[in-house]
């Protein structure tokens, strides 16, 4: 039987006292790539911050099981050391902290770092840049994928790896992401699904108002969203609810 690399059980989360995730349940079996869709503000990035254990995201109920271990109260660095790689959507700029310093912390061999640089088409001079300071949109995405590659985890989290990237860079990024995901498990947030041209996803989930409302084939769900927007998903919720109510009524 295939084991789940990640299992989220009944997870509810608050930020500054405000509920942002509601009873989320999600299982990602080892080796599978899952996609998370959802409108702006639905809680996608919050789910990732919670998975990583950022202190502002308070778990009210539920738990997060990673590789069979309950990590719900572990600090961020200990979680990632268990084998998580992550590429953020909007990483902060840190003055004076060089991209090279972060990579050196993750990888000792210089040759390996140069190899990774060429994968995202960064010149070696990029290592001396202050992380994310004055990076263009495309450079931020490449730097994030580069760091995720360097982390070498077996579970990959990608938050909008394709947003704000031009066609040329998308190709480079797609190639790098494809390699990053080889034989690994992943959770990918994507808005427009461009990255799905480069990645074979096994399953998609739709998050609305902090709850997973729908799961199924990535291509099918993306098609519906692109055609009808998230209003289609809202309808789906209502239909499900009505069916549910009907069932309850019948039982009564």
């Amino acid at each position: 039987m295939v084991r789940n690399i990640l299992e989220i059980r009944n997870l509810s989360v608050e930020v500054s006292g405000k509920r942002i995730l509601n009873n989320v349940n999600l299982q990602i079996p080892e080796g599978e790539v899952h996609v998370l869709f959802g409108p702006n503000g639905s809680g996608k990035s919050s789910l990732i911050m919670t998975l990583l254990g950022f202190p502002a995201y308070k778990v009210v109920t539920g738990k997060i099981i990673f590789k069979g271990k309950n990590i719900t109260s572990l600090p961020t660095d200990e979680r990632v050391k268990m084998g998580i790689s992550v590429a953020f959507q909007n990483p902060p700029a840190i003055r004076g902290v060089k991209l090279g310093e972060i990579l050196n912390h993750l990888i000792r061999e210089e040759s390996k770092i140069n190899e990774l640089l060429s994968k995202v088409k960064f010149p070696p001079s990029f290592l001396k840049r202050d992380i994310n300071l004055g990076f263009s949109g495309g450079e931020v995405k490449k730097s994030e994928i580069l760091q995720a590659l360097a982390q070498n985890g077996d579970f990959i989290i990608l938050d909008e790896p394709d947003s704000g990237v031009d066609v040329e860079n998308l190709k480079v990024l797609g190639g790098a992401v494809n390699e990053l995901l080889r034989d690994r498990s992943a959770l990918i947030i994507t808005h427009l699904g461009f990255i799905l041209h480069y990645v074979n996803a096994d399953m998609a989930h739709v998050l609305i108002n902090g709850t997973i409302v729908c799961s199924g084939s990535p291509v099918k769900i993306l098609g519906q969203i692109l055609n009808e927007g998230y209003s289609w998903c809202m309808k789906c919720i209502q239909v499900k609810k009505q069916r549910c109510e009907l069932k309850i009524n019948q039982q009564l």
Binding site: P75, D77, G96, V97, K98, I102, H105, D130
Partner: protein, 407 residues
């Protein structure tokens, strides 16, 4: 006309405009007598201390070296390849050698500015004279070390640096003390003359002790198209440090830049400003300061840009990082525009370590304390000094030792 001695005598009790007023009688004027010797003859402890302020014992990696301990000059040398390109000697020797030098003596810094400048005149203990001769581009840095070996000593140096027209040089200077020196007072007067088309980068690193006071007094005059870059770094505790160096961009197109990196630790009281006066067409000025305050340190980070000529421009950037609730950073940027066409601007920001930055680095596998140390170190990154790559790497290594220990 008063002589400088008379002016000094009248100012000998005059408190400085800023900083705690020190009782000058509390310090000793009894130095240890040091005989001249090669650097390699100095004790391991002295060499290590000097190294931490950027002064290296290997003469070959420096074009010239000046080393003073207490009130004695113990070493001065110029590498053969740089003879007839640069001059380095004590100011006492230089004043004897060159009659014209009196036209540079107390001409930028006023001898009666306060009791500390007066003290430097009335109890003058050497200091260095460095001159880069006309059109000489000296690609290997010069170095000077001013060292204190006796506890509670008062040391007053007066330095003169002249970059003749078309010359270019890098100077590293370090002021530090022996590990058994805990108290004392260092007064350092430095007058810089940057002539037409000359470029001078002056990097000064200070390492003092928790009960040690210091009052540097510096000024620079920059002529047509001259460039003066002044870098200052103080990462160790100090009882009180107060200075407010000024650069007068006097010639057309003259440029000045001050960069300061201050790490306030323990009970340090640090009051460091930089002032640039733009007096001609096309003058440019920049002040960058980074202040980190921890424990109970108090840091005053000042900056003053004064535009006196149309078509001059300057910017001031002051950032502070507060690492303790008992510490304090007071950032005071000032702009004075005296003509309509002077363009002056500033930005100032003081805050604690940003939580999102810590989390980002933790998501890359750094522990919380590693992430915070990395952010603080990055905040004080010396790349703002704009040094040549080799020199930057070298200073990064030397100060790495200090910051590693401090954090």
């Amino acid at each position: 006309m008063y002589t400088s001695k008379e002016a000094a005598l009248r100012a000998k009790n005059k408190p400085a405009a800023l900083g705690p007023d020190l009782d000058l009688n509390q310090y000793s004027r009894r130095p240890k007598n040091w005989e001249p010797c090669p650097l390699s003859d100095l004790s391991e402890d002295i060499l290590r201390r000097a190294f931490e302020v950027g002064v290296v014992p290997e003469e070959k990696s420096r074009s010239a070296t000046f080393f003073q301990i207490d009130h004695s000059v113990i070493f001065k040398a110029i590498q053969d390849a740089f003879e007839n390109k640069i001059e380095i000697m004590s100011t006492r020797e230089a004043l004897k050698k060159y009659d014209w030098l009196k036209n540079y003596w107390w001409k930028i810094v006023k001898v009666d500015a306060d009791k500390y400048t007066a003290l430097a005149e009335l109890a003058w203990d050497q200091g260095y004279f460095i001159r880069i001769l006309e059109d000489q581009k000296v690609m290997i840095p010069l170095q000077a070390c001013i060292f204190i070996s006796v506890d509670n000593l008062n040391q007053n140096v007066h330095n003169i640096i002249i970059a003749e027209p078309g010359s270019e040089a890098q100077i590293i200077t370090g002021c530090t003390l022996h590990s058994n020196v805990h108290r004392g007072l260092h007064v350092g007067v430095t007058e810089f003359y940057i002539k037409e088309d000359a470029k001078l980068t002056f990097t000064m690193i200070h390492n003092w002790a928790q009960n040690f006071d210091t009052r540097p007094r510096s000024g620079a005059i920059i002529e047509d198209n001259g460039v003066f870059v002044s870098n200052y770094m103080c990462l160790k505790p100090v009882k009180s440090l107060q200075m407010y160096p000024v650069a007068y961009c006097r010639g057309k197109g003259a440029r000045a830049r001050f960069s300061n990196i201050l790490y306030g630790v323990g009970d340090s009281y640090i009051d460091v400003g930089s002032k640039i006066v733009l007096q001609n067409e096309g003058c440019r000025g920049e002040v960058i300061s980074r202040a980190v305050a921890t424990d109970r340190a108090q840091i005053y980070a000042r900056g003053l840009l004064q535009g006196e000529h149309d078509g001059s421009r300057a910017h001031l950037e002051c950032r502070g990082l507060l690492l303790s609730d008992e510490a304090m950073i007071y950032s005071i940027p000032e702009l004075i525009a005296k003509v309509q066409g002077a363009e002056l601007s500033h930005e100032a920001a003081v805050g604690k370590i940003a939580e999102d930055q810590v989390q980002y680095l933790m998501a890359r596998g750094f522990s919380k304390s590693e992430a915070e140390a990395l952010i603080v170190r990055g905040f004080m990154d010396i790349s703002i000094f704009g040094l040549p790559e080799d020199l930057e790497a070298e200073i990064r290594r030397t100060i790495g030792i200090t910051t590693e220990r401090a954090l």
